[in-house]
Amino acid sequence: MAKIIEYFSIATSNIGKRKLRSWLTMIGIFIGIAAVVGLISLGQGLEKAIETEFQKLGSDKIIVTPAGNVYNSIPDEDTPGKLKEDDEKVINRVRGVKTVALTNFKVSEIKWGKEDIGFYFVSGNPTKNDESSLTQEVYAVTIIEGRYLKPDDKFKAVVGHDYATSTAFKKNLHPGSTIIINNQEFEVVGVKDKLGNEGDDRTVIIPRDTYFELFDTKEYPDTIIVQVNKEFTPDDVAESIKKELRKERNQKEGQEDFAVKTLQEYLTSFLTILNIVQTVLVGIAAISLLVGAIGIMNTMYTTVLERRKEIGIMKAIGARNSDILFLFMIESGFLGLVGGVIGVLLGLGFSNLVASIGRQILGTKLLMATSPWYLIVGALAFAFIIGMLSGVLPAKQAASLKPVETLRYE
């Protein structure tokens, strides 16, 4: 089919002379393609940013939580399972476990000025050296003022970024300030860097021993963080931990009151959710492609009417029905392709704009719109195919025209 190329050049010479109308009907295609390309670029960029962020936390970590509990959520009375203080010993016995750190958190009244009073998260973190650094890694703690908690600290606190900067508070806290948690005075020793969500940025971290003293309970740990020895795979270690904890509790597989997950698994399940959201959004965007397809079909029908005579001439000089069919389908595909090119450009612009706005709002440098070559090529091919499919019916009509009749009427 060497004629394809020839037809294509004829088709383009016809499109060059298209009326405003044809360009308008392309709007549907290019808005659709722009939305699809834009959303996918953003989604991929977001995925990459999340993956990079997780990589920073390290893939050698395992999180143990009560069952039915999502990572970092609040345990309450309905929580089906509870972790035990003893679990630490059990986990420590598992081969491949390097460090185990236990943390607790709850909402408490916090006061630091006449008008500054409210209920925020208080987190009890370990202060022993390696447990402390493991906790800091997993909770992404970076100190920007002062220092983090030391092993023999008591009634000392590290506060979230908002306490030091937020204009929502009358008085801001810095190292040396005093803060009252549950009617007990604490000295602020450090300020955490911004994480971008209010929950984290308003959390106050205190030593875990002080936490128990303060709330006067011997609570069960809410989260157990495990670091895996380099020579072991986190998945295997997580499996062994599960087995040991089951044995300890006399529970059958599938009926555990605890959950063991590697950070990688958290990442995977998070990305799955992100993918579902993305698919739904792209699906919605695709509706405008349908509108675009109908627009192209309409234009092609009009074109066939307008060019009846040309079709008759072409048939008289030897064009077969299949040639005419092909010519009109290529032309229609080309309409789609032109719409696709405009759409891809718009989509790239849109996603980069949104990403840069996102970077400013979230204060992260990680979020970049990601548009791999196969997304662009795929979008263009898709636009061409949509155009071509929209042209099938009009092209069939063109091909079935009788030369005598088209040549008779002027």
Partner: protein, 230 residues
């Protein structure tokens, strides 16, 4: 004895317009031999164009047979007929029927594209025939930038693109002044004489018809009489 290239045998063509039947052809029989120059004359509405459409395989008869080089066109598929039109027959119309978005040269090249000629061959051939009809200086103009006579010369060039055995010209001078008309006729005569191309031409002008070797007179969709010139 040269072979018969076109034969209409008792051909009828009926058009239906609502409840009305129009019998455009009513049992016409006609033979054209290879290398002949035949003129067809007759009053308006007598069926000349309809007959030409049958000869050119642009339409099929309601009744009767049309043979092209001995083959019944009723037995040929659509794509076969298109092939025959493209390779064996060249058309020249009263209204030129060029494609307005293409230049003169592109119009001439189009039949060659449809027959899968290579680009190199096409360019050479197009130049050669445009030179023959004396239009090389106008080959990159579009039809609306050309005079009627020039457009008809482009149409002649296009009809020659595939070296057809037959050229069918339906009132080729009908839209031209007498000077451009006689130029067009002189090109047709040259083609006939130098290349031996068979020519069938419809005309209303007795004078022009006398360039042909034979004149077939049509009336009411039938051959009324035949006149041999010379």
């Amino acid at each position: 004895m040269p072979e018969t290239i076109i034969e209409l045998n008792n051909v009828w063509k009926t058009y239906y317009m609502g409840n009305n039947e129009v019998h455009a052809l009513q049992g016409i029989s006609l033979k054209v031999k290879k290398g002949e120059f035949v003129a067809i004359m007759g009053p308006s509405g007598s069926g000349k164009s309809t007959a030409m459409n049958m000869i050119g395989c642009l339409d099929v008869p309601s009744k009767g047979e049309v043979y092209l080089s001995g083959k019944d066109i009723m037995n040929m598929s659509e794509s076969n007929l298109a092939q025959v039109r493209g390779r064996k027959i060249g058309f020249i119309f009263q209204k030129f029927n060029l494609i307005n978005t293409l230049t003169a040269k592109e119009n001439v090249i189009l039949p060659m594209i449809l027959q899968d000629m290579t680009k190199q061959e096409r360019e050479l051939k197009a130049y050669e025939i445009l030179k023959l009809v004396d239009l090389t200086d106008r080959m990159n103009h579009r039809p609306n930038e050309l005079s009627g006579g020039q457009q008809q010369r482009v149409a002649i060039a296009r009809s020659m693109a595939m070296n057809p055995e037959v050229i069918l010209a339906d009132e080729p001078t009908g839209n031209l002044d007498s000077k451009s008309g006689s130029t067009v006729i002189s090109f047709l005569k040259k083609l006939h004489k130098e290349k031996g191309t068979t020519i069938v031409m419809v005309t209303h002008d007795e004078h022009i018809a006398h360039n042909a070797e034979r004149i077939e007179y049509i009336k009411d969709g039938k051959i009324e009489k035949v006149k041999h010139n010379k």
